[in-house]
């Protein structure tokens, strides 16, 4: 009766045991979660963005609740490359999960330096965060296709690691952005980072976030994310790492049908510590119920009207 289900997926050159990867910035380096979860059961972890120098991030408040979503303006707080290499990466390696390392910079040189430093490490995928809305130059990279192409190509030269290029949804054409990443040599695009938003406290007449604006994530953005994933799937020949508002296994199926080879789960982790293990269990159950022997069969199977 109980069909054996293959949850593994292929994302460009990488094979993941299941499609559920923790989204960067919502899972640290995995340290905190190991207390309540077996990290090895995850498809992988996209670890918190690392920059060349340590960053303290933005002043608080750094989060605001919105309808079915949240704004954040953490501002890439991280201990910097040296500390990362000395302390975080060894931990991650010993924990034994599939490591996607998100990297962020202000210049092309920053990205190159970070990728070079990661090239000979245990990191399995480098994810170029070209889209953080909470730092000065964050959006400028991701919003301009020529820059996306340039930085991707520059990083491509210094590492043979699979490259996922994470794009901002705050653009007129996500397909053009993805196409630029492809031309630069990306192995996949990660879609979507957060939508730029503002929340206001009308009593104090101030933005709630100290950074004024922040990035919107959570179920509120899911329809936009699904649309962008499908738009890129239909127009650009490149694997997609889908994300934006995934809370359940059904959401994962929707992203895969739209064209995602694997997904990332972000905000859900913050509300439900067991979100990802639960999603993985439910994926297996759903596949059994629906008679889907290989989950990866679903990728891109959305039938448009």
């Amino acid at each position: 009766m109980s069909l054996s289900v293959d949850l593994s997926v292929q994302v460009g050159p990488s094979r993941l045991k299941n499609p559920v990867v923790a989204a960067s910035g919502t899972f640290g380096f995995g340290r905190e979660a190991q207390a309540f979860m077996d990290l090895k059961r995850l498809g992988g972890i996209s670890a918190k963005a690392v920059t060349v120098e340590p960053r303290l991030g933005n002043l608080p408040p750094r989060t605001a609740e919105t309808a079915s979503g949240l704004l954040n303006s953490v501002g890439l707080q991280n201990p910097g490359l040296q500390h990362y290499l000395a302390h975080e990466l060894p931990f991650m390696q010993s924990a034994g999960f599939f490591i996607v390392q998100n990297i962020a910079g202000d210049t092309v040189e920053d990205y190159v330096q970070l990728a070079e430093a990661l090239d000979q490490t245990a990191v399995q995928v480098i994810e170029l965060n070209l889209s953080c809305p909470n730092v000065k130059h964050g959006l400028s990279f991701g919003a301009k296709p020529p820059l996306i192409r340039e930085v991707t190509a520059a990083v491509r030269k210094v590492t043979t690691k699979p490259l996922w290029v994470k794009l901002t949804p705050n653009v007129t054409s996500i397909a053009e952005a993805a196409q630029a990443a492809r031309e630069g040599g990306a192995d996949a695009v990660s879609l979507i980072n957060t939508l730029l938003g503002l929340a206001i406290d009308w009593r104090s007449r101030r933005p709630i976030l100290h950074n004024n604006t922040g990035g919107l994530s959570g179920p509120a953005v899911k329809p936009v994310a699904l649309r962008m994933v499908n738009e890129v799937y239909r127009t650009v020949d490149l694997p997609i790492v889908g994300m934006g508002g995934i809370m359940t296994a059904e959401d994962v199926l929707e992203f895969m049908l739209a064209g995602a080879s694997c997904v990332q789960v972000g905000t859900a982790n913050l509300l439900h510590p067991q979100a990802m293990p639960q999603i993985i269990r439910d994926l297996e159950r759903l596949c059994q119920e629906q008679g889907i022997a290989r989950l990866s069969q679903l990728v891109g199977q959305l039938q448009l009207w």
């Binding site: 707080q77 982790n269 913050l270």
Partner: protein, 311 residues
């Protein structure tokens, strides 16, 4: 002003975890989220509620100053300091001040309501240890825990005073309110303060006229204390804990500093997860002369006062 029924707490402390003073531990049970149930919810005064939740795992391991993050009608959970614990009955209690929709929803809970509880979260207060400190101070008197609180900050102090008292500390509290009719839990606090409860009201309608800071400054002059003499008699160990609005914390910190009392303050910050993942709850902490952004939910909410308010 309603007194909380303390009957569920066994007065002899039997069944209570006596290891409180050993410093808060991270939950290592491998679980963090619990399906819990509302036992009761009643109003303390206009705008303040007392919510009892059946959640044995949290009741068992929760330390004073730790908090829980509760599901409610809104997208995010809501953090509340644990105000009372009945380990034997498996019940925790929190005080809720109405603020927006989340607190209102929780305050409207009826018995039997299912809640998802994350907890116990964060690092709580380090309470004085009668055994060791008594020896070191050489005074023969148990150490004194002095709690300063205002607003929603007073609730977790009740738990801390209760635990300290059970462990044999002397206890005192200074609580600030806007006016007489906003005073809550005075009798509950009185019951856990061996060395006096001082109330302050902004309008002077009860106790000291002024803020917690005013009351702290006058503390020596209060009835029950010989004039000019400190609540902590010369040479005795005093530990100050404070929870409430930032200016009050600053006042408690500077009052403590001038008397060389160690002081711990409990911070609040907007938070998304409450258990260390997202770093949205960052606060500026000065350690070894360097500013760090630490997590209120993980390294905090309790910090040493001098780390929060460096000189």
């Amino acid at each position: 002003m309603t007194q909380v029924n303390q009957s569920q707490l066994r007065p002899d402390g039997a069944g209570l975890n006596q290891a409180t003073g050993s410093g808060p531990l991270k939950a290592t049970s491998g679980q963090l989220e619990y399906a819990a149930e509302v036992v009761s919810c009643h109003q303390l005064n206009a705008g303040t509620y007392w919510l009892q939740i059946y959640c044995p795992a949290v009741a068992l391991s929760c330390q004073p100053g730790q908090f829980v993050n509760l599901s409610c009608s809104q997208f995010l959970r809501r953090p509340f300091g644990v105000a009372q614990v009945d380990r034997a009955a498996g019940i925790i209690a929190i005080g809720i001040q109405l603020k927006g929709q989340g607190s209102a929803d929780l305050a409207a809970s009826r018995p039997g309501r299912a809640l998802s509880v994350l907890g116990p979260l964060g690092q709580g207060f380090t309470l004085p240890q009668p055994g060791t400190e008594q020896l070191s101070s050489g005074s023969g008197q148990p150490p004194l825990l002095l709690a300063a609180g205002g607003g929603s900050g007073l609730f977790p102090l009740l738990f801390a005073l209760h635990e300290a008292r059970l462990q044999g500390c002397r206890t005192a509290a200074v609580l600030g309110f806007r006016s007489r009719d906003r005073v809550v839990l005075a009798d509950s606090f009185r019951a856990v303060c061996s060395d006096g409860l001082t109330l302050a009201t902004d309008d002077g309608s009860l106790g000291v006229r002024g803020t917690v800071a005013t009351a702290l400054a006058q503390l020596e002059l209060l009835p029950g204390e010989p004039e000019g003499q400190n609540v902590a008699r010369a040479g005795q160990a005093v530990t100050v804990i404070a929870c409430g609005p930032k200016p009050m914390l600053a006042a408690a910190a500077s009052w403590s500093r001038s008397r060389q009392y160690p002081c711990q303050v409990s911070l609040e910050e907007r938070m998304a997860c409450g258990f260390g993942l997202c770093r949205t709850c960052a606060c500026q902490i000065t350690r070894e002369g360097r500013t760090e952004m630490l997590r209120v939910c993980y390294e905090g909410p309790v910090f040493n006062a001098e780390e929060v308010f460096p000189e």
